[in-house]
Symmetry: C2
Subunit: 150 residues, 2 copies
């Protein structure tokens, strides 16, 4: 009888972070996407450069294709061979990858420095920063508050 009242705030939050992680949060998924960003869309190459078990990589690629993040394309007819490409949804994961990379560069790189440096087309070393699209100010914790929450 009181279940409804008791369970107020007792159920998990509906949340875009949680939903996104359900799709790309499994082990190796984002590293597969990273490889495609770096231009390696072939199965064997992805296995080699990520270190994932072939089995797991195969499962991830199936899932990423299924959710519309990657696209599987045939690049050779006669030995039938396939590789993977980013869809628009996949390309939109770029910011996720870059922010993860930035955090790692800052906290885990050690004396050797960042393992991979990107150069922006403006000629400078790419250091990606999150800004508010409206005012252009960098987004800092505590300067944004929830308005509506379901």
């Amino acid at each position: 009888m009181l279940a409804a009242m008791v369970s107020v705030s007792a159920r998990p939050r509906e949340c875009s972070v949680a939903r996104t992680l359900e799709i790309v949060g499994e082990k190796w998924a984002l590293l597969a996407v990273r490889e495609v960003f770096l231009g390696n869309g072939r199965f064997d190459e992805m296995v080699r450069r990520t270190g994932a078990p072939r089995d797991t990589m195969a499962a991830r690629l199936r899932a990423l294709v299924g959710t519309g993040i990657l696209e599987r394309r045939q690049y050779s007819e006669h030995p039938a061979r396939f590789d993977y490409h980013l869809t628009e949804a996949g390309r939109d994961l770029y910011p996720v990858i870059l922010t993860l990379m930035r955090w790692g560069d800052k906290y885990l790189a050690g004396h050797a420095g960042a393992p991979l440096v990107l150069e922006h087309r403006c000629g400078h070393r790419l250091s990606a920063e999150l800004v508010c699209q409206a005012c252009g100010e960098p987004v800092v914790v505590g300067q944004a508050r929830p308005v509506r929450s379901r």
Copy 2:
């Protein structure tokens, strides 16, 4: 004998994305961090709002404290009670969370719209965008290329 030559490019890439995911990529880790961002630093509340098993949440919190992302603080003496706070490294995960959220808002929200809307202090709805710190231009795939890679 040829092992060294054969293994050229055969080993996993050194990569800040991979390193970061080793720390925050386990299931529930980023959702625990999300809760702290939203102001819920207590164990029971985190379990309720994320849906994680208590056991797993306990393990994640231990790990996040261990890697310096969260800090465990006593907030009550007599029934000894603890809650969790972000360290600087933890606060620096804000961009990661926001980009994941943005992707979910765009691709997984459906007709109901974003489950959580944030308002930036400038008064506008927060829509966070990644820009190049040097030139201020939005970062788009294909406009950055690797310079150095170990």
